[in-house]
């Protein structure tokens, strides 16, 4: 369904996929550039990006909660 993102503008659905994918593997150069262009213009996806980081921190902390 997703168009190849190289050279295209991403929408939020595509950008969020890349943000989640980045938790699994390093993005390649074209993915990174497309994502960067989207994030520069999209506060919502920047919020999603920092929330993914927070989820990871919280989840790791859960394993050795006091």
């Amino acid at each position: 369904m997703d168009a190849d993102h190289a050279g295209h503008k991403l929408n939020c659905r595509q950008a969020s996929r890349l943000l989640s994918l980045a938790c699994e593997r390093p993005l390649d150069e074209s993915e990174r550039q497309a994502l960067r262009r989207h994030l520069d213009a999209c506060l919502m996806c920047r919020n999603f990006e920092s929330q993914l980081e927070f989820l990871r921190t919280a989840a790791r902390r859960l394993a050795d909660a006091p």
């Binding site: 939020c12 659905r13 989640s20 919020n47 989820l55 859960l62 394993a63």
Partner: protein
Amino acid sequence: MSMTPVQDPRFAEIEEHRAYLVRYAIAQLRDEQLAEEAVQECLLAALEGIAGFRGQSALRTWLTSILRFKIADLQRRTIAERAREDVGEQAAANEDEDWIDQQFDETGHWRSPPQAWSNPEAALEQRRFWQVFEKCLGRLPAAAGRVFFKREVLGEDTGDICGAEGITAGNCWVMLHRSRIALRECLQVHWFGGGVADGR
């Protein structure tokens, strides 16, 4: 085997970790009933052995190490039954894919846009936050919840998780993506949305 010593004061302390331990066991065993069984055996063993617990590690860490032995026992007994579940995993991944699509409108914009969370790190210090976090984890679909738990809580490698679950990397990743979006929304509503942090 002794009866469950409910009157032991340490019982309440150990019991507080039950929800986490059940989730841990479900992630490994993929079966709620077996998971309950493993946790039950773990808690009994813990009560019998608590005198040997010196507290250098967190109680949760110690309990988890006991649980791992119980899980390994049960896995040896049930290994033949695992293959039959793999068909269901594909269906689960398809459903997750549909769910993700529904979180965006036809132009690919967020239907409930992520708002900024103020000082999220502070939440980690609050007991009530962890109850909300557990509750949000519990609302994930079974397969996605297991995959998320292994990936983000236990820090396992995605490839290992897919192998153990018998699913493709793509499906595994879809489940993780759904879990992240769903957890984000759940925390937004039940914690960061405002008005909840100090009350209840």
